[in-house]
């Protein structure tokens, strides 16, 4: 009962949690109802919801801008190349050795 009441009278702290959870799991009917009521009266949480969607887009790496991405340092590249050559030499398809 207490839980029910608190869901019908959400504050922003709880609403922000539900807005995040809504991206992870289906909300219960009561949660959806409480959230809708809160959003009717709270423009900040409405903007928060919108900004959560934007965050998803913002953190995806720039596939179209390879120049902005870090590159494998040359010394590491050389080291890995040697290890790969070794592995291909001893562990490969040819039996024996």
């Amino acid at each position: 009962m207490r839980r029910t009441l608190s869901l019908l009278n959400l504050n922003c702290r709880r609403a922000s949690r539900l807005l995040s959870d809504a991206r992870e799991r289906p909300l219960s009917k009561l949660e959806r109802f409480g959230l809708r009521i809160h959003l009717l009266g709270c423009r900040s949480c409405g903007r928060y919801r919108h900004q959560l969607a934007l965050l998803d887009r913002f953190v995806r790496p720039a596939g179209d801008d390879p120049a902005a991405a870090p590159t494998l340092p040359a010394d590491a590249r050389g080291r890995i190349e040697r290890r790969l050559a070794e592995a291909a030499g001893d562990g490969g398809t040819t039996p024996g050795g």
Partner: protein, 203 residues
């Protein structure tokens, strides 16, 4: 009429690890570095990934996209890295500092001002990406990894929990904290300090 024998017979595609390194090394490194943050760890993970790929290259012939295949292996290596880090250790979901965003009654202390414009399509897109990365870097490493796994890799709750050995509620709490902090960080470090050009701004 004799046929010249220098026509090469088509062989099944052979794994070319060194070529993988050349073609995909940078992309794998960028992915790993964003997750684990330390260059030397990222380098090791790239090496382990390519070595594992050599071992597994029997299955390679069916793979249409080498980049996707290698990234999938790397993703598992990164997950192993975080699982090993947290074996038997409680993961800090972050609490106190996020509460500072709300007042005693649970209202936003500073409200949630609108974000105007689309920074990814502006001339400052590159700087904006750097700002996003800087905000990600301020999160605890596991929290950032969880958020990126969710958003960038599209991992499900089950996958997140299985990979880190945490409960769904724990995972959702951390995702919520990550979102609160990222939003706050971008609000402070980008959207309030760099108003996108817009004709009318109230002062």
């Amino acid at each position: 009429m004799p046929i010249e024998s220098n026509i090469t017979v088509a062989e099944p595609p052979r794994p070319r690890p060194v070529q993988w390194l050349g073609d995909h090394g940078d992309a794998l490194y960028a992915y790993a570095l964003r997750r684990v943050r330390r260059p030397e760890v990222a380098e090791d993970l790239v090496q382990e990934t390519l070595l594992a790929a050599v071992q597994a290259s029997g299955g390679f012939a069916q793979r249409a996209n080498v980049r996707t295949w290698l990234t999938g292996i790397l993703r598992h290596k990164v997950a192993d890295h975080f699982r090993a880090r947290h074996r038997g250790v409680q993961i800090d979901a972050g609490t106190l500092e996020d509460d500072a965003l709300f007042d005693k009654g649970g209202q936003w202390r500073a409200g949630v001002p609108a974000w105007r414009g689309d920074p990814l399509r502006s001339a400052e897109a590159r700087e904006f990406r750097a700002a996003v990365d800087a905000c990600l870097a301020k999160l605890p490493a596991t929290m950032a990894h969880l958020f990126l796994s969710r958003v960038d890799d599209g991992a499900t709750t089950d996958e997140l929990c299985g990979a880190l050995g945490i409960t769904p509620d724990n995972a959702w709490t951390m995702l919520h904290r990550a979102r609160l902090r990222l939003r706050q960080c971008l609000a402070v470090n980008w959207f309030t300090t760099r108003p996108t050009p817009s004709p009318r701004r109230r002062t």
